[in-house]
Symmetry: C2
Subunit: 94 residues, 2 copies
């Protein structure tokens, strides 16, 4: 998930949701037509929060173009069996 | 979210994901054409896990028909200001 570094892709992690909201607003202010939120595991619910806060509070002309879910296999850095983790991508469009 | 009690709607909460996986499989075995997973807040990531486990491990002919996100306002039972919580609905189709 971290190979590509599209500036209009925001990776959602453990920071407060408003950090990601601000990052998305910056992309749209930079004339991005679409911004994609990517998250996995527990961060998936944060990604939904971010999308909802953006379109309800900040950018009311932004709509959800697509929501996709999937599964990735993660190999722990400390070794051991790979485990599966759910992923989600939310594409926002202005 | 708890008004209607469609037997083919599974409300995702804090139980282990496999409990919900089994509930969804039971619906499809009962000839349901569609099953909807509903979750809010942190349970959203569990709902994605449930959908992924079902279609990758158990019912490979099940596909995701629709994913919708939204916001609900919840008034705490002990009083206080209502707060907003994100919601998600995943519709699975056999």
């Amino acid at each position: 998930m971290s190979q590509e570094r599209d500036p209009n892709t925001i990776y959602i992690g453990r920071k407060p949701p408003m950090n990601y909201v601000m990052a998305v607003i910056a992309c749209f202010n930079n004339n991005a037509e679409k911004v994609t939120l990517k998250a996995r595991g527990q961060a998936i619910s944060t990604a939904v929060d971010v999308a909802e806060v953006i379109r309800r509070k900040f950018l009311k002309d932004v709509s959800i173009e697509q929501i996709a879910i999937g599964t990735e296999e993660i190999t722990p850095q400390e070794g051991g069996n790979p485990r599966k983790v759910s992923t989600m991508e939310i594409t926002l469009k202005q």
